[in-house]
Symmetry: C2
Protein backbone atom coordinates (compact mmCIF):
# COMPACT_ATOMS: atom_id res chain seq x y z
CA UNK A 1 0.00 0.00 0.00
CA UNK A 2 1.16 3.50 -0.84
CA UNK A 3 0.04 6.24 1.51
CA UNK A 4 1.10 9.79 2.31
CA UNK A 5 -0.39 12.05 4.98
CA UNK A 6 0.40 15.72 4.57
CA UNK A 7 -0.33 18.84 6.57
CA UNK A 8 0.23 22.16 4.80
CA UNK A 9 0.20 25.12 7.18
CA UNK A 10 0.68 28.85 6.88
CA UNK A 11 -1.37 32.03 6.94
CA UNK A 12 -4.64 32.79 5.20
CA UNK A 13 -3.36 34.49 2.09
CA UNK A 14 -0.62 32.00 1.18
CA UNK A 15 -2.85 29.62 -0.74
CA UNK A 16 -2.14 26.43 1.17
CA UNK A 17 -5.75 25.25 0.81
CA UNK A 18 -5.62 25.68 -2.96
CA UNK A 19 -2.34 23.77 -3.14
CA UNK A 20 -3.82 20.97 -1.06
CA UNK A 21 -6.88 20.73 -3.29
CA UNK A 22 -4.76 20.63 -6.45
CA UNK A 23 -2.60 17.89 -4.94
CA UNK A 24 -5.61 15.79 -3.95
CA UNK A 25 -7.33 16.27 -7.30
CA UNK A 26 -4.18 15.27 -9.16
CA UNK A 27 -3.85 12.07 -7.16
CA UNK A 28 -7.41 11.06 -7.95
CA UNK A 29 -7.82 12.27 -11.50
CA UNK A 30 -4.48 11.24 -12.96
CA UNK A 31 -2.74 8.77 -10.66
CA UNK A 32 -5.54 6.32 -9.93
CA UNK A 33 -5.18 6.98 -6.20
CA UNK A 34 -7.67 7.92 -3.49
CA UNK A 35 -7.46 11.24 -1.67
CA UNK A 36 -9.10 13.18 1.11
CA UNK A 37 -8.50 16.86 1.66
CA UNK A 38 -9.81 18.82 4.62
CA UNK A 39 -9.65 21.96 6.69
CA UNK A 40 -10.46 21.77 10.38
CA UNK A 41 -10.99 25.23 11.80
CA UNK A 42 -11.07 25.91 15.49
CA UNK A 43 -10.53 29.00 17.60
CA UNK A 44 -6.88 29.13 16.46
CA UNK A 45 -8.04 29.98 12.93
CA UNK A 46 -9.06 33.36 14.27
CA UNK A 47 -5.41 33.92 15.12
CA UNK A 48 -4.43 33.46 11.50
CA UNK A 49 -2.89 29.97 11.30
CA UNK A 50 -4.35 28.02 8.37
CA UNK A 51 -3.97 24.26 8.22
CA UNK A 52 -4.94 22.01 5.37
CA UNK A 53 -4.72 18.21 5.49
CA UNK A 54 -4.31 15.78 2.60
CA UNK A 55 -4.25 12.01 2.66
CA UNK A 56 -3.29 10.22 -0.55
CA UNK A 57 -3.49 6.45 -0.71
CA UNK A 58 -3.64 3.52 -3.06
CA UNK A 59 -6.48 2.20 -0.86
CA UNK A 60 -9.79 3.78 0.16
CA UNK A 61 -9.34 6.13 3.11
CA UNK A 62 -11.59 5.51 6.09
CA UNK A 63 -10.56 8.27 8.44
CA UNK A 64 -9.95 11.68 6.93
CA UNK A 65 -8.13 13.45 9.75
CA UNK A 66 -4.33 13.62 9.86
CA UNK A 67 -2.82 13.29 13.33
CA UNK A 68 0.81 12.65 12.45
CA UNK A 69 1.76 13.81 8.96
CA UNK A 70 4.59 12.13 7.08
CA UNK A 71 5.12 15.49 5.47
CA UNK A 72 4.53 18.74 7.32
CA UNK A 73 4.92 22.08 5.55
CA UNK A 74 5.05 25.27 7.64
CA UNK A 75 5.07 28.59 5.81
CA UNK A 76 4.86 30.96 8.80
CA UNK A 77 6.56 31.07 12.17
CA UNK A 78 3.19 30.88 13.85
CA UNK A 79 2.26 27.74 11.92
CA UNK A 80 5.66 26.24 12.69
CA UNK A 81 5.40 26.96 16.40
CA UNK A 82 1.93 25.49 16.49
CA UNK A 83 2.41 22.37 14.38
CA UNK A 84 6.08 21.28 14.29
CA UNK A 85 5.53 18.75 17.07
CA UNK A 86 2.88 16.76 15.18
CA UNK A 87 5.20 15.53 12.42
CA UNK A 88 5.48 11.75 12.35
CA UNK A 89 8.78 10.49 13.80
CA UNK A 90 11.04 9.94 10.81
CA UNK A 91 8.82 12.13 8.65
CA UNK A 92 9.74 15.32 6.84
CA UNK A 93 9.35 18.92 7.97
CA UNK A 94 9.54 21.52 5.20
CA UNK A 95 9.86 25.21 5.98
CA UNK A 96 10.65 28.37 4.07
CA UNK A 97 13.54 30.31 5.63
CA UNK A 98 11.98 33.62 4.55
CA UNK A 99 9.22 33.08 7.11
CA UNK A 100 10.37 30.42 9.56
CA UNK A 101 13.32 30.23 11.90
CA UNK A 102 13.69 26.55 12.75
CA UNK A 103 14.20 26.60 16.49
CA UNK A 104 13.35 23.16 17.76
CA UNK A 105 14.62 19.78 16.84
CA UNK A 106 11.63 17.94 15.51
CA UNK A 107 12.11 14.19 15.28
CA UNK A 108 12.06 14.45 11.50
CA UNK A 109 14.13 15.25 8.44
CA UNK A 110 14.17 19.04 8.23
CA UNK A 111 14.28 20.74 4.83
CA UNK A 112 14.56 24.50 4.54
CA UNK A 113 13.58 25.42 1.00
CA UNK A 114 13.89 29.03 -0.19
CA UNK A 115 10.64 28.90 -2.13
CA UNK A 116 9.53 32.46 -1.51
CA UNK A 117 12.92 33.93 -2.38
CA UNK A 118 13.01 31.87 -5.58
CA UNK A 119 9.54 33.02 -6.63
CA UNK A 120 10.35 36.65 -5.93
CA UNK A 121 13.78 36.58 -7.62
CA UNK A 122 12.76 34.63 -10.70
CA UNK A 123 9.13 35.62 -11.22
CA UNK A 124 8.41 38.56 -8.93
CA UNK A 125 4.81 37.54 -8.18
CA UNK A 126 4.16 36.30 -4.64
CA UNK A 127 0.77 34.96 -5.71
CA UNK A 128 2.38 31.79 -7.13
CA UNK A 129 4.29 31.00 -3.94
CA UNK A 130 1.85 28.19 -3.18
CA UNK A 131 2.36 26.62 -6.61
CA UNK A 132 6.12 26.70 -6.09
CA UNK A 133 5.56 24.92 -2.77
CA UNK A 134 3.37 22.37 -4.54
CA UNK A 135 6.18 21.78 -7.04
CA UNK A 136 8.70 21.24 -4.27
CA UNK A 137 6.51 18.53 -2.74
CA UNK A 138 6.34 16.39 -5.86
CA UNK A 139 9.89 14.95 -5.83
CA UNK A 140 9.74 14.61 -2.05
CA UNK A 141 6.50 12.64 -1.74
CA UNK A 142 7.16 10.47 -4.81
CA UNK A 143 3.52 9.52 -5.43
CA UNK A 144 2.56 11.92 -8.18
CA UNK A 145 4.06 12.83 -11.54
CA UNK A 146 4.80 16.45 -12.31
CA UNK A 147 3.02 16.08 -15.63
CA UNK A 148 -0.18 15.09 -13.84
CA UNK A 149 -0.11 18.26 -11.75
CA UNK A 150 0.39 20.32 -14.90
CA UNK A 151 -2.80 18.81 -16.34
CA UNK A 152 -4.78 19.89 -13.29
CA UNK A 153 -3.22 23.36 -13.35
CA UNK A 154 -4.14 23.69 -17.00
CA UNK A 155 -7.74 22.86 -16.19
CA UNK A 156 -8.05 25.16 -13.20
CA UNK A 157 -6.05 28.25 -14.03
CA UNK A 158 -7.13 30.94 -16.50
CA UNK A 159 -4.95 30.66 -19.59
CA UNK A 160 -3.42 34.11 -19.12
CA UNK A 161 -1.91 33.01 -15.81
CA UNK A 162 -0.97 29.47 -16.73
CA UNK A 163 2.64 30.16 -17.77
CA UNK A 164 3.25 32.02 -14.53
CA UNK A 165 2.00 29.02 -12.58
CA UNK A 166 3.97 26.54 -14.67
CA UNK A 167 7.13 28.56 -14.03
CA UNK A 168 6.54 28.65 -10.29
CA UNK A 169 5.78 24.93 -10.33
CA UNK A 170 9.01 24.16 -12.22
CA UNK A 171 11.14 26.22 -9.84
CA UNK A 172 9.51 24.33 -6.98
CA UNK A 173 10.25 20.99 -8.65
CA UNK A 174 13.92 21.96 -8.88
CA UNK A 175 14.03 22.90 -5.20
CA UNK A 176 12.37 19.64 -4.23
CA UNK A 177 14.73 17.62 -6.43
CA UNK A 178 17.75 19.33 -4.89
CA UNK A 179 16.42 18.64 -1.38
CA UNK A 180 16.04 14.91 -1.90
CA UNK A 181 19.64 14.23 -1.05
Amino acid sequence: MKRCRLVLSGSGGQGVITAAIILAETAVLHENLHAVQSQAYGPEARGGATRSDVIISSEPINFPKVYQPNVLVCLTQQAYNKFFSIVRPGGMLITDPRFVKVESKANAVQKELPMFETVMDKIGKPIVFNICMLGALIPLIELIKAESVRKVLKNRIPSGFLDLNYQAFDFGLALGEAARN
Copy 2:
Protein backbone atom coordinates in the same frame (compact mmCIF):
# COMPACT_ATOMS: atom_id res chain seq x y z
CA MET B 1 -25.77 22.67 20.83
CA LYS B 2 -26.10 24.09 17.34
CA ARG B 3 -24.88 21.88 14.53
CA CYS B 4 -25.36 21.67 10.79
CA ARG B 5 -23.94 19.04 8.45
CA LEU B 6 -23.93 19.99 4.79
CA VAL B 7 -22.96 18.23 1.59
CA LEU B 8 -22.61 20.42 -1.49
CA SER B 9 -22.40 18.44 -4.71
CA GLY B 10 -22.11 19.22 -8.39
CA SER B 11 -19.55 19.11 -11.16
CA GLY B 12 -15.95 20.28 -11.12
CA GLY B 13 -16.36 23.76 -12.54
CA GLN B 14 -19.33 24.88 -10.46
CA GLY B 15 -17.30 26.08 -7.50
CA VAL B 16 -18.90 23.99 -4.77
CA ILE B 17 -15.57 23.55 -2.97
CA THR B 18 -14.99 27.29 -2.87
CA ALA B 19 -18.50 27.88 -1.54
CA ALA B 20 -17.93 25.25 1.15
CA ILE B 21 -14.64 26.85 2.21
CA ILE B 22 -16.20 30.31 2.41
CA LEU B 23 -19.05 28.94 4.51
CA ALA B 24 -16.69 27.18 6.92
CA GLU B 25 -14.40 30.19 7.20
CA THR B 26 -17.32 32.49 7.92
CA ALA B 27 -18.59 30.25 10.71
CA VAL B 28 -15.19 30.24 12.39
CA LEU B 29 -13.98 33.76 11.78
CA HIS B 30 -17.18 35.69 12.42
CA GLU B 31 -19.69 33.51 14.24
CA ASN B 32 -17.56 32.00 16.98
CA LEU B 33 -18.40 28.50 15.75
CA HIS B 34 -16.27 25.49 14.89
CA ALA B 35 -16.13 24.11 11.36
CA VAL B 36 -14.63 21.29 9.33
CA GLN B 37 -14.60 21.29 5.55
CA SER B 38 -13.47 18.37 3.46
CA GLN B 39 -13.38 16.73 0.07
CA ALA B 40 -13.22 12.97 -0.16
CA TYR B 41 -12.28 11.87 -3.63
CA GLY B 42 -12.72 8.34 -4.82
CA PRO B 43 -12.97 6.72 -8.22
CA GLU B 44 -16.31 8.53 -8.79
CA ALA B 45 -14.45 11.86 -8.91
CA ARG B 46 -13.05 10.71 -12.24
CA GLY B 47 -16.61 10.61 -13.51
CA GLY B 48 -17.06 14.28 -12.69
CA ALA B 49 -19.17 14.36 -9.50
CA THR B 50 -17.65 16.74 -6.96
CA ARG B 51 -18.70 16.54 -3.33
CA SER B 52 -17.71 18.89 -0.57
CA ASP B 53 -18.66 18.39 3.09
CA VAL B 54 -19.02 21.03 5.79
CA ILE B 55 -19.81 20.59 9.45
CA ILE B 56 -20.54 23.70 11.49
CA SER B 57 -21.03 23.41 15.22
CA SER B 58 -21.05 25.35 18.44
CA GLU B 59 -18.93 22.53 19.89
CA PRO B 60 -15.57 21.11 18.74
CA ILE B 61 -16.05 18.56 15.97
CA ASN B 62 -14.50 15.16 16.53
CA PHE B 63 -15.38 13.35 13.36
CA PRO B 64 -15.08 15.33 10.14
CA LYS B 65 -16.96 13.10 7.72
CA VAL B 66 -20.62 13.71 6.90
CA TYR B 67 -22.72 10.58 6.48
CA GLN B 68 -26.22 12.05 6.62
CA PRO B 69 -26.33 15.74 5.83
CA ASN B 70 -29.09 17.94 7.26
CA VAL B 71 -28.69 19.97 4.12
CA LEU B 72 -27.81 18.41 0.78
CA VAL B 73 -27.27 20.57 -2.30
CA CYS B 74 -27.15 18.89 -5.72
CA LEU B 75 -26.24 21.04 -8.72
CA THR B 76 -26.08 18.35 -11.40
CA GLN B 77 -28.27 15.39 -12.27
CA GLN B 78 -25.30 13.11 -11.76
CA ALA B 79 -24.69 14.47 -8.27
CA TYR B 80 -28.40 14.20 -7.48
CA ASN B 81 -28.61 10.60 -8.66
CA LYS B 82 -25.54 9.70 -6.65
CA PHE B 83 -26.23 11.53 -3.40
CA PHE B 84 -29.98 12.17 -2.94
CA SER B 85 -30.38 9.09 -0.77
CA ILE B 86 -27.88 10.22 1.88
CA VAL B 87 -29.90 13.20 3.10
CA ARG B 88 -30.87 12.92 6.75
CA PRO B 89 -34.56 11.99 7.23
CA GLY B 90 -36.34 15.29 7.80
CA GLY B 91 -33.42 17.20 6.34
CA MET B 92 -33.42 19.48 3.32
CA LEU B 93 -32.55 18.69 -0.29
CA ILE B 94 -31.79 21.71 -2.47
CA THR B 95 -31.53 21.41 -6.24
CA ASP B 96 -31.39 23.77 -9.20
CA PRO B 97 -34.10 22.99 -11.79
CA ARG B 98 -31.78 24.13 -14.59
CA PHE B 99 -29.64 21.05 -13.96
CA VAL B 100 -31.64 18.57 -11.90
CA LYS B 101 -34.91 16.82 -12.53
CA VAL B 102 -36.10 15.65 -9.13
CA GLU B 103 -37.21 12.12 -9.77
CA SER B 104 -37.26 10.36 -6.46
CA LYS B 105 -38.98 11.14 -3.24
CA ALA B 106 -36.20 11.66 -0.76
CA ASN B 107 -37.33 11.57 2.84
CA ALA B 108 -36.60 15.28 3.14
CA VAL B 109 -37.95 18.73 2.42
CA GLN B 110 -37.23 19.35 -1.25
CA LYS B 111 -36.46 22.87 -2.45
CA GLU B 112 -35.98 23.61 -6.12
CA LEU B 113 -34.28 26.99 -6.36
CA PRO B 114 -33.71 28.60 -9.78
CA MET B 115 -30.26 29.88 -8.84
CA PHE B 116 -28.63 29.46 -12.22
CA GLU B 117 -31.49 31.11 -14.09
CA THR B 118 -31.43 34.02 -11.64
CA VAL B 119 -27.69 34.52 -12.05
CA MET B 120 -27.91 34.36 -15.82
CA ASP B 121 -30.95 36.65 -16.08
CA LYS B 122 -29.85 39.26 -13.58
CA ILE B 123 -26.05 39.18 -13.86
CA GLY B 124 -25.18 37.14 -16.92
CA LYS B 125 -22.00 35.62 -15.44
CA PRO B 126 -22.19 31.91 -14.63
CA ILE B 127 -18.98 32.19 -12.60
CA VAL B 128 -20.91 33.52 -9.58
CA PHE B 129 -23.44 30.68 -9.58
CA ASN B 130 -21.73 29.18 -6.54
CA ILE B 131 -21.95 32.45 -4.60
CA CYS B 132 -25.65 32.65 -5.38
CA MET B 133 -26.01 29.12 -4.01
CA LEU B 134 -24.06 30.16 -0.92
CA GLY B 135 -26.47 33.06 -0.46
CA ALA B 136 -29.48 30.76 -0.74
CA LEU B 137 -28.12 28.57 2.05
CA ILE B 138 -27.85 31.36 4.61
CA PRO B 139 -31.57 31.84 5.42
CA LEU B 140 -32.09 28.08 5.24
CA ILE B 141 -29.38 26.96 7.66
CA GLU B 142 -29.93 29.85 10.11
CA LEU B 143 -26.49 29.66 11.71
CA ILE B 144 -24.64 32.43 9.92
CA LYS B 145 -25.39 36.07 9.26
CA ALA B 146 -25.29 37.36 5.69
CA GLU B 147 -23.09 40.24 6.83
CA SER B 148 -20.46 37.77 8.08
CA VAL B 149 -20.28 36.09 4.68
CA ARG B 150 -19.85 39.49 3.03
CA LYS B 151 -16.81 40.12 5.25
CA VAL B 152 -15.20 36.89 4.09
CA LEU B 153 -16.05 37.62 0.45
CA LYS B 154 -14.49 41.06 0.79
CA ASN B 155 -11.31 39.50 2.09
CA ARG B 156 -11.07 36.77 -0.53
CA ILE B 157 -12.27 38.30 -3.76
CA PRO B 158 -10.32 40.82 -5.84
CA SER B 159 -11.99 44.21 -5.49
CA GLY B 160 -12.88 44.42 -9.18
CA PHE B 161 -15.08 41.34 -8.83
CA LEU B 162 -16.53 42.01 -5.41
CA ASP B 163 -19.72 43.80 -6.53
CA LEU B 164 -20.50 40.95 -8.90
CA ASN B 165 -20.16 38.48 -6.05
CA TYR B 166 -22.20 40.62 -3.65
CA GLN B 167 -24.97 40.81 -6.25
CA ALA B 168 -25.02 37.06 -6.76
CA PHE B 169 -24.97 36.54 -3.01
CA ASP B 170 -27.93 38.90 -2.51
CA PHE B 171 -29.97 37.20 -5.23
CA GLY B 172 -29.23 33.91 -3.50
CA LEU B 173 -30.31 35.31 -0.14
CA ALA B 174 -33.64 36.32 -1.65
CA LEU B 175 -34.17 32.85 -3.12
CA GLY B 176 -33.33 31.24 0.21
CA GLU B 177 -35.66 33.61 2.10
CA ALA B 178 -38.50 32.85 -0.29
CA ALA B 179 -37.92 29.12 0.11
CA ARG B 180 -38.19 29.14 3.89
CA ASN B 181 -41.95 28.95 3.83
